[in-house]
């Protein structure tokens, strides 16, 4: 029994704590993948779903096509920026939670007797 308890503590303050720290990267990567962050950054100014107008011969046609395509790019930019902002917020939250977990983790086993003692005293 004593050996098992020792095993628990050695894991908790050793490999277990390491796992929490190592979990940081995959979680952040998961968020970035889910929000397609790399793709969105790479195509930030690309027209939205390639909805574009091909320019005609006349100057007026060219100007109109340029305007249409600029509009498509602006739409794309706005949508992407919005999603990137959401991704940034989520990343921040995940990072914060992870950091909190990393800090709180070593305190949890100690918290058990702490809570009991404090609860009995109060």
């Amino acid at each position: 029994m004593a050996m098992l308890i020792l095993s628990f503590f050695s894991w908790w303050y050793g490999r277990g704590w390491q796992q929490v720290a190592r979990g940081f990267g995959p979680r952040l990567r998961g968020v970035m993948n889910a929000f397609s962050v790399r793709q969105l950054l790479r195509t930030l100014f690309a027209p939205w779903r390639r909805i574009i107008t091909y320019p005609g011969a006349s100057l007026e046609d060219r100007f109109r096509a340029w305007g249409d395509n600029l509009f498509s790019r602006v739409i794309g930019l706005v949508v992407r920026l919005f999603v990137l902002f959401a991704a940034a917020v989520t990343l921040a939250l995940v990072a914060l939670l992870n950091a909190a977990e990393l800090v709180i983790w070593p305190l949890l086993p100690v918290a058990i007797p702490g809570c009991i003692v404090a609860g009995l005293i109060i």
Binding site: N33, Q39, R50
Partner: protein, 788 residues
Amino acid sequence: MSELIDLGTARAGQARLSKAIGRTGYRILMVSGSMAAAAAVALGLTSGPRYLLLLAALALVCYLPAVWWKRQLAVLPPTGNDLSGRLSVDVLARLKPGMIQQPQSVWAALSDHWQAVFFLNHLLITKEVVAGQLSAEPAELGQALQFAIQLADQNKSPIIELGFVVAGLLLASPGMKQTLTQLKIQAGDVEALANWLGRNVVETPGTEHHYGGIGRDWAFGYTPLLDRFGHNLSLGIAEHGAHFGWVANSDGVLAIEAAFDNHASAVALIGPDGIGKSTSVQALAERLIEGETGPTLAYHQVIALNATDITANAKQARDLEQIMLSLANEAAHAGHVILFFDDAQMFFNEGPGAFDASQILLSIIQAKSVPIILAMSPDDHQRLKAKNHSLAGLLTPVMLQELPEGGVMRVLEDTAAGLENRHHVLIAYEALREAYRLSGRYEQDEAYPGKAIKLLEQAITHSDNSLVNAASVQQAIEQTRGVKAGNAAPVEADALLHLEDNIHRRMINQAHAVKVVANALRRARAGVANPRRPIGSFLFLGPTGVGKTELAKSIAATYFGAESNMVRLDMSEYQQAEDVSRLLSDGQQESKSLIMSVREQPFSVVLLDEIEKAHPNILNLLLQLLDEGQLTDTGGKTVSFKDCIIISTSNAGANTIRERVGKGESLESFQAEFTDELINSGQFKPELLNRFDEMVLFRPLQPDELVQVVQLMVAEVNETLANQNIALELTPAAIQKIVEQGNDPRLGARPMRRVLQRAVEDTVAQKILKGEAKPGDKLTLDAPDLVI
């Protein structure tokens, strides 16, 4: 004596605790922890912090062990290279400290685990059989564990899984080896099962798949027309999570990727049917949609186009052109589409469901606006080269090679796992081996692994109590190909053992010849003969009309089920050198060549009459046929003769046989001398005579045998008359008269049928027409009744 596996380590203790907690304990801890946490909040708010703190402590007491179990105890990572540090939690938890460590006790502890059951089920053995064969000798366990370590290393697994230990126990035990041999299971099969298990246990967990996320396609165009006419393989994979495992990194897939990376506009994926062209493209689609490729192709989607769907939507040829161009334009505009033309020959040919889009494809490929993959067979690639050289020149060829046996078995194992789930059956490992063996032998037109998979799928309908075994596969091939693939069943074995009797029901005497042939056929059926050569090859030598052709017909009827299972060629029609091409024609020029006949009817007697008259080139061809069991047609396709019985007949030396038998010599006594004569006289080359399994000498029929021949012929007439319910009988004098009239020393019994036709059949016909013979009558004809 120190034990092989140290069960006193902390890791072993953790394994036992892991088993004691189990999944159920983990859930109880999590629920209790959550309830305590909820109660802590609720009571904390209403009754003060004391309860909050005490219940929070209780929640932590539940949560912390639960977290420990989930992250550490349930997986128990390896802690070193020694056995105790590498054995899986399942093994360590099942072995009790203090137990005597020997194969029997270890098996008793492990045999209920699913990985042990996996072996038992797929090898079709019971755990009692294994228990009965394993030794109680502790030293033998060391060898078993050594095998287990090897298997773990082979599978690149740091953990020694329970299945590897089970395989080790089976492989190390001499008693078990003997039992497995009796069950026709080889050590390689046990290893293959361990590797199959290893692939599933070692690779599956922890493999996460990402398909690009929410904004993957926002920079690419819409594809409404392609969605209508095509099938988006990539989205199918992302939706259903299909995984192609090692195929995604196979040479073929990487070659296609490399071709596009090198700016190829179109790839011709070349390989015979069944080699896995479609699977390779699907595996490529998986790589692309998971973004595993370079940035040029990342998140591209493979859309398969079907010629039939396109033609169904086009009323005129112009519509087809319009649709094709629109599809290509849409794909080019979308910017992330790879067009895949499966069965590409359908886009180059005329005919039902096909159309010639080669010119349209040429212009699309020349424009280099959209990457294209065209899957085709090597023949179709050659045809395309001949027909549209410029289009073929624009294609980057990627040749798919047939997998070696190990690769095919791996595909079969993975396929079997899917089939077991889908059809709720158990597929024994012997069924996989048999599917590989029989598809290789009988399915010449397809490549591995496709043909083996197809056969395995067909075998499911022949499962016995949801078990697919070797017999199921044999039944499947017997049904689809009409071949005798299984071990001789009791009734059939009896028929084979009495083959001579069956043949003698239709043949008179020639006991020596019949015995020689029957022995050879029994050898072939029992699996003793060489499977890479024809079932049997015989050279029948003897005078005309002594039963050579009749024996060939009897073999066709007895062995292949019907006299019609015979391909007969008169070799006197093949006396010129150019006649070789007539024999080997693939059907384009010659409608009924030897090759075509055998392709249509692969299970037959091939009777080559008067072989000595054929051109020497044709005899050389016969050498190849007898040696390799196959010939190649003029179109380059091989045809197997491995399921044929080759019989060549010849009258060469007939006079010698007649003379020596006339002097009272037995055939066996002068066969060797006779063979020398045939070689010395230049009638046959020694290399040809050596290739035949047997040279069979036929002796001239004696007068009493001719009487029996007549009786057989009368029996045949009676079979015909049975429809009219009339029976025919000949008196001994009548039979004698027919024998005298029909016997010709030069022509043997051959004129007998003509005489019988004239004398008996004509007489009977007249009697029927005159009304002298009515249904129910028995006609008896005497010598004077016969007008010859």
